[in-house]
């Protein structure tokens, strides 16, 4: 009788907590969307921002956000996956491994503003690049590598031991086993980690303030030469991202439609993250299907 009551109470509490979370999520989401969606228009998405007049858009910021995300992922994912494989398969338990693990965890708990200051010192001042996309991407890499390593390590570890043994017992070398058995099986976990990291990158402002900067040069979207100063693909140009833009217009914007721009940008940001997640998951499923021949 006692156990039954306890069971009922526990179930009830868990339901309430779940309900609270969902309500919070739904209300936050709908607040942002209701506030912002009315201001989203084709014009808003495709015109450059203005500093003084009303009616500026977010074209460059939106592009910068995706571009920095892309560059960061190109650096973060291979490094993170390699780190994860090392931690799960090669690192021998002992003092060194523990030290590495502690370092990774410390890195994960660094406040992003500290990472931004570090980036300012190293990627902006020491290198002499000034505010650049690559500087921002490297700062974001520092900040996302721990998550990526951790998630990859867990994914690699969760591959059933018997499949690994089956491969090794066939005379397959360790590296080939990792490449052909472990990585395909760990792929969904690694993908989830990459999506989580992307979400953080997309929404990150503090680490980018001092590394990628608060401005964007006049971009010519017809110019695809990545070495030209006005090319959007140039990684050595400053780039204000959407999240930074939201922060900037809110704190020191002087245009009359600050509220609208902030609300619209927020909605675009949220929708972009959502869209990105969905696309990443769908593609991930496709790749997974190809790798495993499941129905």
């Amino acid at each position: 009788m006692h156990a039954k009551v306890a069971d009922k109470i526990a179930t009830g509490i868990l339901y309430v907590v779940a309900f609270l979370f969902i309500t919070l999520l739904v209300s936050l989401f709908s607040y942002i969307l209701f506030q912002g969606v009315p201001y989203i228009s084709l014009d808003f998405l495709t015109s450059p921002s203005s500093t003084v007049q009303a009616g500026g858009g977010i074209r460059d910021q939106l592009f910068n956000s995706f571009y920095i995300l892309f560059i960061t992922m190109i650096i973060t994912v291979p490094l993170g996956v390699c780190g994860g494989i090392y931690m799960a398969e090669y690192a021998k338990p002992g003092k060194v491994t523990n030290a590495i693990r502690t370092c990774i965890e410390m890195l994960a708990s660094l406040p992003s503003i500290v990472v931004g200051m570090f980036g300012l010192l190293i990627f902006v001042n020491t290198t002499g690049w000034g505010y650049t996309i690559i500087g921002g991407a490297l700062a974001l890499t520092i900040f996302n590598i721990p998550v990526m390593v951790r998630v990859s390590e867990d994914a690699v570890r969760s591959v059933p031991q018997d499949q690994k043994e089956a491969s090794l017992a066939l005379g397959i070398t360790k590296w080939h086993t990792i490449k052909t058995v472990i990585l395909p099986a760990a792929f969904p976990g690694i993908l989830t980690g990459a999506i989580l990291a992307s979400g953080r990158i997309f929404g990150e402002a503090a680490a980018l303030l001092f590394t990628a900067g608060l401005s964007t040069p006049n971009l010519d979207y017809g110019n695809w030469n990545p070495f030209s100063a006005s090319s959007p693909l140039n990684i050595f140009r400053p780039a204000e991202t959407l999240a930074v833009h939201i922060w900037a217009v809110n704190t020191n914007g002087i245009m009359p439609d600050v509220q609208e721009i902030a609300a619209g940008s927020s909605a675009v940001l949220v929708l972009s993250v959502l869209l990105f997640n969905i696309i990443a998951r769908v593609t991930g499923k496709r790749i997974q299907k190809k790798l495993t021949a499941s129905k």
Binding site: D162, Q163, A166, A169, L291
Partner: protein, 257 residues
């Protein structure tokens, strides 16, 4: 006399010892495993029979803190002391595990996995190897129309046969079976047993089993392990009908274990 025995032997163990950290798991193991015979390894849980079979393809080395001394002679090489090419050894000595462990890939890719990585790239050659291996384990008729389907769709017995096909595809000379039927139903068990009897024509087979009837049914020689030692090795008939050692008799008559 010794020369004849040597020629017939696929593996010859000489005072093989194995430790896990401090634990002495195999003690002075000395006997021979003959080519093209089924050798059954029996004994109670924890007697070292699974550890022993893992020394034959050196999978035992994967366990942290493992140490081996003595000798396992295979193809004129001492696996324990010589620097063994693990890739070659494991190609020649295939292993089948307790539970069928196919890769989460198609049936075709499972069988083609070994040959492919060992360097066979031509489609027609792979097709041939896959068909031959699947026919050898009597799975071809059942799966030939769905080679592209995931191997997990197969039943437990079929999965275990697929794993045998996967091992055969790298053209081994020996097969190690570690309690291959312990997770299977009686019908699947029977089919695996029949398969093992057929396979001994071409392969040397070492099988760990906790099922004494199984050992009696299909093996030519049986080795009885107890507490990390070999108590008795004999032809299966002799060992089960007229054991030389008291412990063997106690075990096979069910007095312990």
């Amino acid at each position: 006399m010794t020369l004849v025995v040597q020629k017939k032997a696929a593996f010859a163990m000489e005072e093989l010892n194995l430790w896990y950290e401090r634990f002495h798991a195999l003690k002075d193991i000395s006997f021979q495993i003959n080519k093209n015979e089924v050798t059954a390894i029996i004994g109670p849980s924890g007697c070292g029979k699974s550890t022993f079979i893992k020394t034959l393809n050196l999978m035992a080395l994967r366990i942290p803190g493992v140490k081996m001394t003595g000798g396992i002679l295979f193809e004129n090489q001492n696996l324990v002391t010589d620097k063994t090419d693990l890739v070659h050894l494991r190609k020649k000595v295939g292993m089948i595990f307790q539970k069928g462990n196919p890769f989460p890939q198609s049936i075709y890719d499972n069988v083609a996995y070994g040959p492919r990585i060992h360097g066979i790239k031509k489609r027609c050659q792979l097709d041939e190897i896959v068909e031959e291996a699947l026919k050898r384990v009597a799975l071809w008729q059942e799966v030939k129309d769905r080679l592209k389907r995931n191997a997990f769709d197969l039943s437990g017995g079929q999965q275990q046969r697929l794993c045998i096909a996967r091992a055969i595809a790298t053209k081994p000379t020996c097969l190690l079976l570690d309690e291959p039927t312990s997770a299977l139903d009686p019908v699947s068990t029977k089919s695996i047993e029949e398969l093992v009897t057929e396979l001994k024509e071409n392969y040397t087979i070492v099988m760990v089993t906790h099922n004494m009837q199984q050992a009696a049914r299909i093996s030519d020689k049986t080795a009885f392990f107890l507490n990390g030692e070999v108590v008795e090795v004999n032809t299966t008939n002799k060992l089960f009908s007229n054991p030389e050692q008291k412990e063997t008799e106690d075990y096979i008559t069910g007095r312990f274990g």
